[in-house]
């Protein structure tokens, strides 16, 4: 006879689930509303989403408070793991989503926003990401990963253009392959250790002193391939530029930030114990990934003619840059990862939003893509403020001080220096210098060229509403005055990361 399962509710520690449940409830609510009343305005759904995300955020604040007092929490049969990484990454995920969702309030009407499903999917996706980071269990990681990814494919496709479908199909197919890789990797680890929990895996592997290093590496290879896809490491990056181009600018901006931080956290959990256990192979491979991703993406970004595609490659390059943090694997580097990503999200969201507000409903005849460089030529003459803000984001992305991303780069490179990766530090900064060129190219077009398309400046703000402008304003302020919040932010992040044992 099997004993009846006797579980006390308290031991489940359902608190740990609360942040994920809130967006799920929100999503369900949206669907329910849609059942009762069709054709409600998107503002309602935006507000609901925003509201639930806010609640999510406050729940996270609660968890953060608990974490600072009690340290790491486990819950729900030890499946949930609420540590500093989980909380920090969820802050980024939810925070960035809150900045993203008002971008739906465009001036022009776009197909996807008229569906309440869009918002429901969006909230499901957020929950998926949150699950992904708040667990140690590869099953839950997989579930979270797929929940969010499937939602994301759909969201990309909902933009309802040929390119969007193409992008979605590409993204989806490659995602499916990556899912296969993930499950295979998980299987290998399971076969080796009999567990799917990362800390268990680590413990077992350490206990038998990595005798089966060859098999461990096979598992690591598939995990790397899977997360390489998610983090768009070269050569698993090929989806990124096409998907960014196909998706709407706002979605592209979102994709450059939120899914990646989730993947980074999992990668951090998964790979760092291996690196710290002295798996030299992984160190070499990650080193190569970091350098190749940074450099190759940079030189591809150089030759782009479309701003959005350039920003796509630039995001790939930034991901490679940040991957260095995982390679270095010190407390400072892991803190730098979060710091960098927070600052990056402000800047990148800002720059994609700038593309978003300049988005026309239909592509003009002579334009091959939505955001060619030519479109921005001479922008300063017609809309100087917009041009200045865009220039600001570009400078920040290039790492010109004192704008946001400079501090991230500073701290990350510093962590490379303190971690003993001198050569890496130099390669990182030299890549920043190369990257300077393509960011500068946009500035050159905006500030130094004569207008090519003979417009009155309306196209740069065709899509602008108060909401969008507010988001851009927030991003701009965040970019300029990052240094004000830097110290508390840094202290908080370091404390969280340190207390999680990374």
């Amino acid at each position: 006879m099997i004993e009846p399962v006797n579980v006390s509710l308290a031991s489940l520690n359902l608190m740990t689930l609360a942040p994920m449940l809130i967006p799920i409830v929100g999503a369900l609510l949206i669907l329910v509303i849609d059942i009762f009343k069709v054709g409600l305005d998107k503002t309602l759904y935006v507000s609901i989403s925003l509201l639930f995300l806010l609640m999510d955020f406050s729940a996270l604040l609660g968890s953060a408070g608990v974490f600072t007092q009690d340290g790491i929490m486990m819950g729900v049969f030890n499946v949930m793991l609420i540590d500093g990484l989980a909380i920090l990454s969820q802050f980024i995920i939810v925070g960035a989503s809150m900045l993203f969702i008002p971008l739906a309030l465009t001036h022009k009407r776009f197909h996807e926003f008229s569906y309440p499903e869009f918002f429901a999917l969006f909230l499901f996706m957020i929950a998926g990401f949150q699950f992904m980071v708040a667990t140690d269990n590869l099953i839950l990681v997989f579930v979270g990963l797929e929940t969010s990814s499937l939602a994301l494919y759909t969201l990309v496709a909902m933009h309802n253009r040929d390119k969007s479908f193409e992008a979605a199909v590409k993204y989806f197919t490659m995602g499916a392959l990556a899912a296969g890789f993930f499950s295979f990797g998980a299987m290998v680890f399971y076969a080796l250790t009999g567990s799917v929990e990362i800390n268990q895996i680590a413990a077992v592997l350490a206990a038998n002193k990595y005798v089966d290093i060859g098999y461990v590496l096979v598992g690591v290879v598939f995990m790397l391939a899977s997360f390489g896809f998610k983090l768009s490491l070269v050569p698993f990056h090929t989806w990124a530029p096409d998907v960014y181009e196909g998706a709407s600018a706002s979605m592209a901006g979102f994709m450059s930030i939120v899914p990646k931080i989730a993947a980074f956290v999992v990668a951090m959990r998964l790979f760092e114990f291996l690196i710290h256990s002295g798996v030299a192979w992984l160190e070499v491979v990650l080193y190569t990934f970091v350098i190749v991703t940074m450099t190759a993406a940079n030189i591809w970004a150089l030759v782009q003619t479309d701003v959005k595609r350039m920003l796509a490659y630039s995001s790939v390059s930034h991901a490679g840059f940040v991957m260095a943090a995982i390679l270095i694997g010190t407390t400072q580097s892991n803190s730098a990862l979060f710091l960098y990503w927070i600052l990056f999200s402000f800047t990148n969201l800002g720059s994609f939003s700038m593309l978003w507000i300049s988005r026309q409903k239909h592509l003009p005849e002579h334009q091959r893509s939505d955001h060619t460089y030519d479109k921005f030529a001479g922008m300063v003459q017609t809309s100087p403020i917009a041009a200045s803000i865009m220039g600001l984001f570009m400078l920040s992305l290039a790492g010109v001080p004192p704008f946001a991303l400079f501090w991230g780069k500073l701290y990350l490179v510093s962590s490379a220096v303190t971690g003993g990766y001198t050569v890496l530090a130099f390669i990182m900064v030299l890549n920043s210098a190369i990257a300077g060129y393509y960011y500068l190219k946009l500035i050159v077009y905006m500030f130094m060229k004569e207008p090519i398309m003979g417009n009155d400046g309306h196209i740069y703000v065709a899509n602008a509403t108060i909401a969008l402008k507010t988001i851009i304003g927030i991003a701009a302020i965040g970019t300029i005055f990052a240094f004000v919040t830097l110290n508390p932010l840094l202290e908080l992040i370091t404390a969280f990361v340190y207390n999680s044992g990374y």
Binding site: V400, P401, P402, F426, K441, M448, L486, N487, L490, T494
Partner: protein, 517 residues
């Protein structure tokens, strides 16, 4: 107010620039001149309240920025930086005042005011990161000035300028991070404060690497051979005002940084690299002078002459003694005044003829005698005529380096020959002979507005050539403390002997002690 005068100096122009956006187009120039004049008087006030007899930092400000990572907003001036700050505000003022009709005048003036902020910031910063912020930020307005108001190749020139310098300074940034890390290892706290770094004594091998990292950043900025090729493009394409400020102030950041960072932080490495750098400096002097001689565009002549003169400044810096370093700092100011004036002068003729090709001119002395006279004066200053401002600097720089190497000084001294060759050749082509080109027959002489900028520069050129003491004395005091610091910090015997010990008493005591043994 005096407690925060440096912050005011830095941020006043920036705030004014922001306000400038709402000023009406017609009155923007008056506004710009007024702001720049206030800024200049503030910098003069700084000078008057400056205690010339003290050698340390004055008007220090301290504000935590990212204390967790040791980044603080620390400002201060000493004799080394004081005059460059004054020069910067001076050039901003006369630059705006002498601005000839420019399209988008408003953008130009706003940009210049931003540039002024960064220039003041670089020279007043006493924290590595704050320094770096202003250092990088100064690229942006200059990029815009060259790129938006420049000649036909302006975009190439401006992007090249930006990226080249940007790449170099990023390497320097890594160097800074290393220094901060070593400081952290030594003391357990992060600090980017320069004065903290001064106290750090590093092993020689570390010094060498760090020196090299800093060197790349500074050398590109200076620019030293072979990193100089961005400069002719930048100057060639930049509008007059851009060239003036680039030559007068921005290039000085590199040489200033050598004195502020490289020398006191890495005394042994400085000694180690002294000769290689001196050789580079000599190549800069001779080679670029020859290249200048071959130019057909008068602005390029002045541009390459800048490189050539920067060679002397570098040489003076790496003399590693009080005479040489003082001389090189003075020469920075001198070269700022003179090359600034020369670029303004080139601008005068460019405004009239819209060409800078020397073969388009000839015999201008007939039609524009006043112009020829001022140009002649600046030319003579540029070739280092005694009783002009340049001579003092060049003389002291070379004098200082002579202590280190006779033969290299002899080679570098050819500056006075090759400098004369290209300058006189250019002057001859432009001003002497008959007026052959019809277009030159009726050129108006320098206007009142142009004189407004040129006369003060001429006066400074001669006044400081005759009586450099008010500037030389404060510089000297600060340099003495730096040289002493270098001597005390140095580890190797060679450095100890190459860098003089200024505390005479200690030396005597030591020798007598040795005698007693």
């Amino acid at each position: 107010m005096l407690n925060h005068i440096l912050s005011i100096l830095i941020f006043f122009p920036a705030l004014a620039a922001m306000l400038g956006f709402i000023i009406h187009k017609d009155s923007i120039r008056a506004y710009g001149v007024a702001i720049a004049a206030i800024e200049f008087s503030l910098s003069l006030w700084l000078w008057f309240s400056f205690d010339s007899s003290a050698s340390g930092m004055q008007f220090m400000e301290h504000l935590p920025l990212v204390p967790a990572f040791g980044i603080n907003y620390i400002l201060g001036v000493d004799g080394i930086s004081l005059f460059i700050i004054i020069l910067a505000s001076f050039f901003t003022m006369i630059g705006i005042a002498s601005l000839t009709d420019t399209k988008n005048e408003k953008n130009m003036i706003v940009t210049l005011l931003f540039l002024q902020m960064t220039m003041a910031g670089v020279f007043a910063a006493l924290d590595g990161i704050v320094f770096y912020i202003f250092w990088e930020l100064s690229l942006v307005p200059m990029l815009y000035i060259i790129g938006a108001w420049g000649g036909p190749l302006r975009i190439y020139a401006s992007v090249k300028f930006f990226l080249y310098t940007f790449a170099g300074s990023l390497v320097m940034l890594v160097g800074m991070l290393f220094v901060a890390y070593f400081y952290y290892q030594a003391t357990g706290t992060w600090s980017f404060a320069i004065l903290d770094w001064y106290r750090l004594i590093l092993p020689e091998s570390f010094q060498l690497w760090l020196f090299a990292a800093f060197f790349i950043g500074f050398a590109i900025k200076v620019p030293m051979f072979p990193f100089h090729t961005w400069l002719p493009y930048a100057h060639g394409q930049a509008p007059t005002i851009g060239s003036v400020i680039l030559a007068a102030i921005l290039l000085k950041m590199g040489t200033y940084a050598f004195i502020r960072f490289s020398l006191p932080m890495f005394p042994d490495a400085s000694v180690f690299f002294m000769f290689p750098i001196a050789v580079l400096a000599i190549i800069m002097v001779i080679y670029t002078a020859m290249v200048a001689y071959a130019q057909e565009d008068v602005k390029q002549v002045v541009a390459y002459s800048s490189v050539s003169h920067m060679g002397i400044i570098i040489l003076g810096t790496f003399a590693l003694n009080v005479e040489g370093i003082t001389g090189s700092i003075f020469l920075m100011i001198a070269h700022g005044v003179v090359s600034g004036a020369l670029f303004l002068l080139v601008g005068v003729i460019y405004d009239r003829r819209h060409t800078k090709m020397m073969n388009e001119f000839g015999g201008l002395a007939h039609v524009m005698p006043r112009y020829a006279t001022i140009f002649g004066l600046m030319l003579m200053a540029s070739v280092g005529m005694p009783l002009t401002i340049n001579f003092v600097g060049e003389f002291l720089s070379l004098l200082g380096f002579y202590k280190q190497s006779h033969i290299l000084t002899l080679l570098a001294g050819t500056a006075i020959i090759v400098g004369a060759i290209y300058m006189l050749a250019a002057y001859k082509k432009m001003f002497f002979g008959e007026v052959t080109n019809e277009k030159n027959k009726n050129l108006p002489d320098v206007s009142k507005r142009e004189l407004l900028a040129l006369i003060p520069l001429s006066i400074i050129t001669i006044w400081l050539g005759i009586y450099p003491k008010p500037i030389l004395a404060p510089i000297n005091n600060s340099v003495e403390s730096i040289v002493q610091l270098m001597h005390d910090k140095s580890i190797t015997n060679e450095a100890k002997t190459r860098i003089p010990n200024l505390v005479k008493g200690a030396e005597i005591a030591k020798t007598s002690e040795q005698g007693a043994h």
